[in-house]
């Protein structure tokens, strides 16, 4: 018999099999081993998608209901605007799917969505496809009190868009035309962010796509050809916006929004360049001074004409961490040493520049060669995208924030009642996992003698039996990807890691029994899970060695 035949549960994230709220197991085949997946924080999580692009993927929402039903009463027809009907062919060639609107020439004629609640200081993008039958026509889109975006409509379908920082807590999104004209309209979208993303059709409820509230994240970070399930602790991004144009202080520097393609694959990265030669030409967020405690700071950056971005310790007064965007090497020469420094390659010249420090106030400076000075010519600079500051000693995946405040991604947990999978007092549990240090409980198996798998200081793992208050295995240091098999019989426990038994066989005081709920990542650590197998029997030593090799 094979491992596959013998396993009572086979959870293989390499297939990336999931949906919002669920991660599927290939065994049992009747679905009784499918895990419930929960995170519960909307639009706050991202993953690295599959190759060859490995783009960062977010959750997306079209906040407009009836986004392509302009006859619906959710759309107000004001000042001589009337709907002719859904009579035009849409930009994708579908007949009778775009709408013809008649503007009678009354000033401020418009079709306008009923008021939408938005976050003041949040960043929002509005986009819509427009066309006219002949000639050209000037119109405007967006929300008037934030400033409308003027557009020139032609006989070809164009998707027009704009973004604004919300100045009020209600938005009235519209198409406005002051002339007598018939304008064809398709697919209005209103979403968080700097640029329009792929159109999402909506009906009575908002349209959604991508990484949603409880979508398991099958992640392809570091150029992986096959995904693993990313399970992370709860974190809060203290940086209030992806938009560097509001709330930030620029000293001797300027920015150009949406200047190049970001690691997200969209034209929403920012160019930053010095406006004067000298020292400490920088960008910083005005109130972002987490001056006490341990924080990890990160920003995506790409070389332009300049290729050094330096994270400065504001109080240290000296050079901080020099991120060389040409070589991908970070040089920590701070007067106050950083706890952790890293540059992660995201492809297409982009690096995530990461530094962890204690009691730090910080800012990012532009640099010629890694020092504090830079030479300006009015154009030369580099590219930045998506800053993050989080309270802890290591970085987690990017938490998108367009809110103007903070945003929290809750902990990822998978759980399942496995009564039907484990129904006796023997088992083997196999895990192929990469786990980062976080002192926490990784696995809790209730009523199975209350098995716990603890992640301890020093990046060590150890299994524990709560009802007997026994450590049932030795501890072992977690490396960068480990294969672990724990076998249990009525009388003993054995642990195998990466092809060898770890420690001695442990004599159990009492046997495990009545396995019910298994929860993974309950203690909120960071895991990249490749496989979880459970067998109803204790596999032989030889089989465990083969399985973990």
């Amino acid at each position: 018999m094979s491992y596959f035949d013998d396993a009572s549960l086979a959870f293989l994230p390499s297939g990336a099999a999931g949906k919002d709220g669920k991660a599927y197991s290939i065994k049992p085949t009747d679905g009784t081993g499918d895990f419930t997946f929960s995170r519960g924080s909307n639009l706050a999580a991202t993953r690295v998608g599959p190759g060859p692009d490995y783009f960062i993927e977010k959750g997306r929402e079209n906040l407009l209901t009836y986004s392509n039903d302009f006859s619906n009463s959710d759309w107000n027809k004001i000042n001589g605007l009337s709907v002719i009907g859904q009579t035009a062919t849409d930009p994708f060639g579908v007949a009778n799917n775009a709408w013809s609107l008649n503007f009678d020439g009354t000033v401020n004629g418009r079709i306008e969505k009923k008021g939408l609640s938005v976050a003041v200081n949040g960043v929002y993008n509005y986009s819509v496809y427009l066309r006219v039958a002949t000639g050209t026509q000037v119109a405007s889109i967006g929300h008037s009190s934030w400033g409308l975006t003027a557009v020139t409509i032609t006989t070809q379908w164009q998707r027009f868009e704009g973004f604004k920082v919300a100045a009020t807590n209600t938005a009235y999104i519209r198409v406005r035309c002051d002339d007598a004209a018939i304008i064809e309209v398709f697919g209005y979208q209103f979403e968080s962010g700097l640029v329009a993303t792929e159109y999402i059709e909506s009906g009575a409820t908002k349209g959604t796509a991508g990484i949603l509230e409880n979508t398991p994240r099958f992640d392809y970070s570091n150029g992986a050809s096959c995904p693993s399930l990313l399970l992370e602790p709860s974190r809060t991004n203290l940086v209030p916006s992806e938009y560097f144009g509001a709330g930030y202080t620029l000293s001797g520097a300027a920015i150009i929004n949406n200047n190049t393609t970001s690691p997200e694959g969209l034209q929403n990265a920012t160019k930053i360049y010095p406006t004067a030669s000298g020292n400490y030409k920088h960008i910083r967020y005005g109130s972002l001074n987490p001056s006490t405690g341990v924080h990890t700071f990160s920003i995506f950056a790409k070389a332009g004409e300049l290729d050094h971005l330096v994270l400065i310790d504001y109080d240290g007064g000296g050079v901080g961490v020099d991120f060389n965007l040409s070589t991908g090497v970070a040089n920590d020469s701070a007067s106050v040493a950083f706890d952790f420094v890293d540059m992660v390659d995201y492809g297409n010249g982009w690096y995530r520049c990461v530094a962890t420090a204690t009691n730090l106030r910080f800012y990012w400076i532009l640099s010629d060669n890694g020092g504090v000075s830079v030479t300006a010519n009015g154009t030369d600079g580099l590219y930045i995208y998506a800053a993050q500051a989080e309270a802890n000693a290591y970085p987690t995946s990017y938490i998108p924030n367009h809110s103007g405040g903070t945003i929290t991604r809750a902990v990822d947990v998978i759980s399942k009642d496995l009564t039907s999978v484990i129904n006796n007092n023997q088992m083997t549990m196999f895990l192929d996992v990469k786990s980062l240090e976080a002192i926490s409980t990784v696995i809790a198996a209730d009523n199975f003698g209350d098995l716990r798998w603890y992640h301890q200081a020093g990046n060590r793992f150890r299994f524990y039996k709560i009802d007997d208050a026994d450590w049932v295995t030795n501890s072992f240091v977690v490396n960068d990807g480990d294969k672990i098999a724990l076998t249990l019989t009525d009388t003993q426990a054995k642990l195998f890691v990466n092809g060898s038994q770890v420690g001695t066989t442990f004599a159990l005081t009492t046997s495990f029994q009545n396995f019910t709920n298994l929860s993974y990542n309950v203690g909120s650590s960071k895991n990249e899970l490749n496989q979880l197998l459970i067998f109803r029997t204790a596999l032989s030593d030889a089989d465990c060695i083969t399985l973990t090799t």
């Binding site: 293989l12 390499s14 297939g15 990336a16 099999a17 599927y24 290939i26 096959c226 995904p227």
Partner: protein, 107 residues
């Protein structure tokens, strides 16, 4: 019954069965030739056991024969179940490799 079927497939996979009808497939690429030989021998063998043609092609569609082993059937069935439940399977290549290893080990 299924295990007997798998056993027959394993037997048929052995190299001594290849090459007997090479002339009939000489125009094909090596990969396609191997798959065709594999399918041909399974078909002929099961014909000798009076397997109906419709049964053979049913099993072929189910992924039991042709370009994969029993692991392909497991993955196909898994994908069908997930899709029917409203989910997606993003990477069949990767899960195929995992299931193939788990079905062929320990040897």
């Amino acid at each position: 019954m299924r295990n007997q079927l798998i056993c027959w497939i394993e037997v048929l996979m052995e190299s001594r069965f290849w090459g007997k009808v090479v002339t009939a497939t000489s125009g094909l690429s090596s990969k396609r030739r191997k798959n065709k030989l594999y399918d041909t021998y399974i078909y002929k063998t099961y014909n000798s056991f009076e397997m109906k043609q419709s049964q053979f092609y049913y099993l072929l569609r189910r992924g039991l024969f042709g370009g994969g082993g029993i692991w392909a059937k497991y993955v196909n069935d898994f994908k069908a179940r997930v899709v029917a439940d409203g989910g997606t399977v993003e990477s069949t290549t990767c899960i195929n490799a995992d299931v193939k290893y788990l079905t062929k080990n320990p040897s």
